[in-house]
Symmetry: C3
Subunit: 106 residues, 3 copies
Protein backbone atom coordinates (compact mmCIF):
# COMPACT_ATOMS: atom_id res chain seq x y z
CA UNK A 1 0.00 0.00 0.00
CA UNK A 2 1.60 3.24 -1.13
CA UNK A 3 1.45 5.98 1.50
CA UNK A 4 2.46 9.64 1.40
CA UNK A 5 3.77 11.66 4.32
CA UNK A 6 1.72 14.77 4.99
CA UNK A 7 1.23 17.09 7.96
CA UNK A 8 -1.74 16.90 10.32
CA UNK A 9 -2.40 20.43 11.60
CA UNK A 10 -4.40 20.68 14.83
CA UNK A 11 -5.88 23.99 16.00
CA UNK A 12 -7.61 24.21 19.39
CA UNK A 13 -9.74 27.31 19.78
CA UNK A 14 -12.82 28.82 21.37
CA UNK A 15 -16.00 27.60 19.62
CA UNK A 16 -16.86 31.12 18.42
CA UNK A 17 -13.81 31.00 16.13
CA UNK A 18 -14.73 27.76 14.34
CA UNK A 19 -16.45 29.26 11.29
CA UNK A 20 -13.78 31.90 10.77
CA UNK A 21 -10.85 29.48 11.10
CA UNK A 22 -12.35 26.81 8.82
CA UNK A 23 -13.08 29.45 6.14
CA UNK A 24 -9.48 30.61 6.41
CA UNK A 25 -8.20 27.02 6.09
CA UNK A 26 -10.14 26.70 2.81
CA UNK A 27 -8.79 30.04 1.57
CA UNK A 28 -5.22 28.99 2.40
CA UNK A 29 -5.68 25.81 0.35
CA UNK A 30 -6.83 23.00 2.66
CA UNK A 31 -9.21 20.59 0.90
CA UNK A 32 -11.04 19.46 4.03
CA UNK A 33 -11.12 19.51 7.80
CA UNK A 34 -12.73 17.83 10.78
CA UNK A 35 -14.00 19.39 13.99
CA UNK A 36 -14.39 17.70 17.38
CA UNK A 37 -15.76 19.42 20.48
CA UNK A 38 -13.98 19.20 23.81
CA UNK A 39 -13.11 21.09 26.92
CA UNK A 40 -9.89 22.07 28.58
CA UNK A 41 -7.69 24.44 30.47
CA UNK A 42 -4.77 26.46 29.21
CA UNK A 43 -1.79 28.04 30.86
CA UNK A 44 -3.18 30.06 33.75
CA UNK A 45 -3.14 33.81 33.53
CA UNK A 46 -1.26 34.02 30.28
CA UNK A 47 -4.23 34.97 28.13
CA UNK A 48 -7.59 36.22 29.33
CA UNK A 49 -9.34 33.86 26.93
CA UNK A 50 -7.62 30.74 28.22
CA UNK A 51 -10.17 30.11 30.92
CA UNK A 52 -11.45 26.61 31.54
CA UNK A 53 -14.24 25.86 29.14
CA UNK A 54 -15.36 24.34 25.93
CA UNK A 55 -13.23 24.35 22.83
CA UNK A 56 -13.15 22.99 19.31
CA UNK A 57 -10.34 20.91 17.87
CA UNK A 58 -10.04 21.65 14.16
CA UNK A 59 -7.82 19.29 12.15
CA UNK A 60 -6.69 19.33 8.55
CA UNK A 61 -4.22 17.19 6.61
CA UNK A 62 -2.08 19.16 4.16
CA UNK A 63 1.34 19.29 2.56
CA UNK A 64 4.22 20.50 4.72
CA UNK A 65 4.54 23.89 3.02
CA UNK A 66 0.85 24.64 3.50
CA UNK A 67 1.10 23.46 7.11
CA UNK A 68 3.75 26.13 7.70
CA UNK A 69 1.55 28.80 6.09
CA UNK A 70 -1.39 27.75 8.26
CA UNK A 71 0.72 27.92 11.45
CA UNK A 72 1.98 31.37 10.46
CA UNK A 73 -1.54 32.59 9.78
CA UNK A 74 -2.96 31.20 13.04
CA UNK A 75 -0.11 32.62 15.12
CA UNK A 76 -0.41 36.04 13.47
CA UNK A 77 -4.21 36.26 13.55
CA UNK A 78 -5.04 34.71 16.93
CA UNK A 79 -2.20 34.26 19.39
CA UNK A 80 -2.25 37.84 20.67
CA UNK A 81 -5.91 37.98 21.58
CA UNK A 82 -7.20 34.43 21.89
CA UNK A 83 -6.34 31.25 23.76
CA UNK A 84 -5.61 29.39 20.53
CA UNK A 85 -2.97 26.70 20.20
CA UNK A 86 -1.71 25.11 16.99
CA UNK A 87 0.61 22.22 16.30
CA UNK A 88 1.56 19.79 13.57
CA UNK A 89 2.40 16.09 13.50
CA UNK A 90 3.51 13.70 10.78
CA UNK A 91 0.99 11.31 9.24
CA UNK A 92 1.10 8.78 6.41
CA UNK A 93 -1.99 8.80 4.19
CA UNK A 94 -3.39 6.59 1.44
CA UNK A 95 -4.48 8.41 -1.75
CA UNK A 96 -2.74 11.71 -1.12
CA UNK A 97 -4.72 13.38 -3.92
CA UNK A 98 -7.63 13.66 -1.46
CA UNK A 99 -5.65 16.22 0.55
CA UNK A 100 -4.13 18.41 -2.13
CA UNK A 101 -6.20 20.76 -4.25
CA UNK A 102 -5.61 20.72 -8.01
CA UNK A 103 -3.55 23.77 -9.09
CA UNK A 104 -6.41 25.40 -11.00
CA UNK A 105 -8.63 25.51 -7.92
CA UNK A 106 -6.15 27.30 -5.66
Amino acid sequence: MHTTRLALVTIIAEPVLEGRITRELRQLGATGFTVVEGRGEGSRGRHAAEIPGVNVRIETIVGHALAQRILEHIAHAYFEDFGVIAFTSEVAVVRSAKYTAPPESR
Copy 2:
Protein backbone atom coordinates in the same frame (compact mmCIF):
# COMPACT_ATOMS: atom_id res chain seq x y z
CA MET B 1 9.88 3.79 31.52
CA HIS B 2 10.12 1.33 28.64
CA THR B 3 8.05 2.33 25.63
CA THR B 4 7.33 0.57 22.35
CA ARG B 5 6.72 2.24 19.00
CA LEU B 6 3.42 1.28 17.44
CA ALA B 7 1.14 2.77 14.78
CA LEU B 8 -1.96 4.80 15.57
CA VAL B 9 -4.44 4.24 12.73
CA THR B 10 -7.16 6.88 12.33
CA ILE B 11 -10.21 6.28 10.13
CA ILE B 12 -12.73 9.08 9.56
CA ALA B 13 -16.03 7.88 8.14
CA GLU B 14 -19.75 8.43 7.99
CA PRO B 15 -21.45 7.32 11.24
CA VAL B 16 -23.39 4.57 9.45
CA LEU B 17 -20.10 2.75 8.84
CA GLU B 18 -18.95 2.65 12.48
CA GLY B 19 -20.23 -0.82 13.40
CA ARG B 20 -18.98 -2.39 10.19
CA ILE B 21 -15.52 -0.84 10.39
CA THR B 22 -14.98 -1.66 14.08
CA ARG B 23 -16.01 -5.30 13.47
CA GLU B 24 -13.54 -5.45 10.61
CA LEU B 25 -10.78 -3.98 12.81
CA ARG B 26 -11.37 -6.81 15.31
CA GLN B 27 -11.34 -9.40 12.54
CA LEU B 28 -8.07 -8.03 11.16
CA GLY B 29 -6.48 -8.35 14.62
CA ALA B 30 -6.86 -5.04 16.47
CA THR B 31 -7.35 -5.57 20.22
CA GLY B 32 -9.28 -2.36 20.83
CA PHE B 33 -10.42 0.94 19.40
CA THR B 34 -11.89 4.29 20.39
CA VAL B 35 -14.56 6.32 18.62
CA VAL B 36 -15.08 10.07 18.82
CA GLU B 37 -17.87 11.93 17.03
CA GLY B 38 -17.18 15.04 15.01
CA ARG B 39 -18.14 16.94 11.92
CA GLY B 40 -16.28 18.08 8.87
CA GLU B 41 -15.98 18.77 5.20
CA GLY B 42 -14.01 16.83 2.60
CA SER B 43 -12.62 17.71 -0.77
CA ARG B 44 -15.45 19.27 -2.72
CA GLY B 45 -17.04 17.31 -5.51
CA ARG B 46 -14.62 14.44 -5.37
CA HIS B 47 -16.97 11.95 -3.75
CA ALA B 48 -20.72 12.26 -3.41
CA ALA B 49 -20.47 11.13 0.22
CA GLU B 50 -18.02 13.85 1.22
CA ILE B 51 -20.68 16.36 1.99
CA PRO B 52 -20.45 18.51 5.10
CA GLY B 53 -21.83 16.61 8.03
CA VAL B 54 -21.21 14.45 11.00
CA ASN B 55 -18.54 11.81 11.06
CA VAL B 56 -16.90 9.34 13.40
CA ARG B 57 -13.17 9.17 14.08
CA ILE B 58 -12.20 5.58 14.78
CA GLU B 59 -8.72 5.02 16.20
CA THR B 60 -6.76 1.87 16.97
CA ILE B 61 -3.17 1.29 18.07
CA VAL B 62 -1.54 -1.70 16.38
CA GLY B 63 1.77 -3.02 15.12
CA HIS B 64 3.09 -1.57 11.87
CA ALA B 65 2.35 -4.65 9.76
CA LEU B 66 -1.26 -4.74 10.92
CA ALA B 67 -1.55 -0.98 10.32
CA GLN B 68 -0.62 -1.61 6.68
CA ARG B 69 -3.21 -4.38 6.38
CA ILE B 70 -5.87 -2.10 7.88
CA LEU B 71 -5.04 0.72 5.43
CA GLU B 72 -5.22 -1.73 2.52
CA HIS B 73 -8.57 -3.04 3.68
CA ILE B 74 -10.07 0.41 4.24
CA ALA B 75 -8.86 1.70 0.87
CA HIS B 76 -10.15 -1.36 -0.95
CA ALA B 77 -13.52 -1.57 0.81
CA TYR B 78 -14.47 2.10 1.14
CA PHE B 79 -12.53 4.61 -0.93
CA GLU B 80 -14.51 4.04 -4.13
CA ASP B 81 -17.95 4.61 -2.70
CA PHE B 82 -17.58 6.50 0.58
CA GLY B 83 -15.95 9.69 1.84
CA VAL B 84 -13.63 7.75 4.13
CA ILE B 85 -10.08 8.83 4.94
CA ALA B 86 -7.42 6.80 6.74
CA PHE B 87 -3.96 7.67 8.00
CA THR B 88 -1.32 6.46 10.41
CA SER B 89 1.03 8.18 12.83
CA GLU B 90 3.79 6.95 15.12
CA VAL B 91 3.13 6.62 18.84
CA ALA B 92 5.13 5.32 21.81
CA VAL B 93 3.11 3.22 24.23
CA VAL B 94 3.67 1.77 27.69
CA ARG B 95 2.81 -1.95 28.10
CA SER B 96 2.67 -2.86 24.44
CA ALA B 97 1.01 -6.21 25.25
CA LYS B 98 -2.26 -4.30 25.62
CA TYR B 99 -2.26 -3.64 21.88
CA THR B 100 -1.20 -6.97 20.43
CA ALA B 101 -3.44 -10.02 20.54
CA PRO B 102 -1.87 -13.28 21.72
CA PRO B 103 -1.25 -15.59 18.72
CA GLU B 104 -3.89 -18.15 19.75
CA SER B 105 -6.66 -15.56 19.69
CA ARG B 106 -6.00 -14.33 16.16
Copy 3:
Protein backbone atom coordinates in the same frame (compact mmCIF):
# COMPACT_ATOMS: atom_id res chain seq x y z
CA MET C 1 7.81 30.20 11.48
CA HIS C 2 9.90 28.82 14.33
CA THR C 3 8.54 25.60 15.77
CA THR C 4 9.62 23.50 18.75
CA ARG C 5 9.32 19.75 19.05
CA LEU C 6 7.35 18.67 22.10
CA ALA C 7 5.48 15.53 23.18
CA LEU C 8 1.72 15.12 22.93
CA VAL C 9 0.64 12.78 25.73
CA THR C 10 -2.73 11.06 25.27
CA ILE C 11 -4.46 9.27 28.15
CA ILE C 12 -7.68 7.35 27.54
CA ALA C 13 -9.57 6.51 30.72
CA GLU C 14 -12.94 5.95 32.30
CA PRO C 15 -14.81 9.26 32.77
CA VAL C 16 -14.75 8.90 36.58
CA LEU C 17 -10.97 9.37 36.50
CA GLU C 18 -10.95 12.66 34.58
CA GLY C 19 -10.77 15.04 37.55
CA ARG C 20 -8.11 13.02 39.32
CA ILE C 21 -5.90 12.61 36.25
CA THR C 22 -6.11 16.26 35.19
CA ARG C 23 -5.22 17.40 38.74
CA GLU C 24 -2.24 15.06 38.66
CA LEU C 25 -1.15 16.43 35.26
CA ARG C 26 -1.11 19.93 36.76
CA GLN C 27 0.84 18.73 39.80
CA LEU C 28 3.40 17.02 37.58
CA GLY C 29 3.94 20.28 35.67
CA ALA C 30 1.62 20.34 32.64
CA THR C 31 0.40 23.87 31.86
CA GLY C 32 -2.84 22.82 30.17
CA PHE C 33 -4.86 19.95 28.80
CA THR C 34 -7.86 19.17 26.63
CA VAL C 35 -10.54 16.53 27.12
CA VAL C 36 -12.71 14.91 24.45
CA GLU C 37 -15.40 12.34 25.17
CA GLY C 38 -15.63 9.12 23.19
CA ARG C 39 -16.43 5.47 23.44
CA GLY C 40 -14.51 2.33 22.76
CA GLU C 41 -13.53 -1.22 23.50
CA GLY C 42 -10.27 -2.49 24.95
CA SER C 43 -8.54 -5.83 24.88
CA ARG C 44 -11.15 -8.35 25.97
CA GLY C 45 -10.86 -9.97 29.33
CA ARG C 46 -7.57 -8.38 30.28
CA HIS C 47 -8.97 -5.87 32.73
CA ALA C 48 -12.40 -5.86 34.28
CA ALA C 49 -12.70 -2.15 33.58
CA GLU C 50 -12.04 -2.47 29.87
CA ILE C 51 -15.64 -3.13 28.99
CA PRO C 52 -17.20 -1.38 26.02
CA GLY C 53 -18.35 2.05 27.08
CA VAL C 54 -17.70 5.70 27.30
CA ASN C 55 -14.27 7.12 27.91
CA VAL C 56 -12.42 10.41 28.04
CA ARG C 57 -9.37 11.24 25.97
CA ILE C 58 -7.14 13.60 27.95
CA GLU C 59 -4.32 15.27 26.03
CA THR C 60 -1.48 17.52 27.11
CA ILE C 61 1.55 18.92 25.29
CA VAL C 62 4.72 18.92 27.36
CA GLY C 63 8.49 18.57 27.12
CA HIS C 64 9.88 15.09 26.57
CA ALA C 65 11.20 14.66 30.12
CA LEU C 66 7.83 15.56 31.62
CA ALA C 67 6.10 13.24 29.14
CA GLN C 68 8.17 10.37 30.52
CA ARG C 69 7.27 11.31 34.10
CA ILE C 70 3.58 11.43 33.17
CA LEU C 71 3.73 7.99 31.52
CA GLU C 72 5.47 6.58 34.59
CA HIS C 73 2.87 8.06 36.90
CA ILE C 74 -0.09 6.85 34.82
CA ALA C 75 1.33 3.33 34.49
CA HIS C 76 2.08 3.12 38.21
CA ALA C 77 -1.21 4.62 39.44
CA TYR C 78 -3.73 3.14 37.01
CA PHE C 79 -2.59 0.22 34.87
CA GLU C 80 -3.11 -2.41 37.55
CA ASP C 81 -6.72 -1.57 38.37
CA PHE C 82 -8.15 0.42 35.47
CA GLY C 83 -8.53 0.10 31.71
CA VAL C 84 -6.35 3.13 31.11
CA ILE C 85 -4.03 3.50 28.13
CA ALA C 86 -1.36 6.15 27.61
CA PHE C 87 0.85 7.01 24.67
CA THR C 88 2.97 9.82 23.30
CA SER C 89 3.57 11.25 19.84
CA GLU C 90 5.81 13.96 18.47
CA VAL C 91 4.37 17.37 17.64
CA ALA C 92 5.81 20.68 16.46
CA VAL C 93 4.33 23.72 18.19
CA VAL C 94 4.47 27.46 17.68
CA ARG C 95 5.27 29.54 20.82
CA SER C 96 6.57 26.74 22.99
CA ALA C 97 6.41 28.97 26.09
CA LYS C 98 2.67 28.25 26.20
CA TYR C 99 3.44 24.66 27.13
CA THR C 100 6.21 25.01 29.66
CA ALA C 101 5.65 26.42 33.12
CA PRO C 102 8.06 29.11 34.29
CA PRO C 103 10.60 27.66 36.77
CA GLU C 104 9.26 29.58 39.76
CA SER C 105 5.81 28.02 39.37
CA ARG C 106 6.99 24.44 39.38
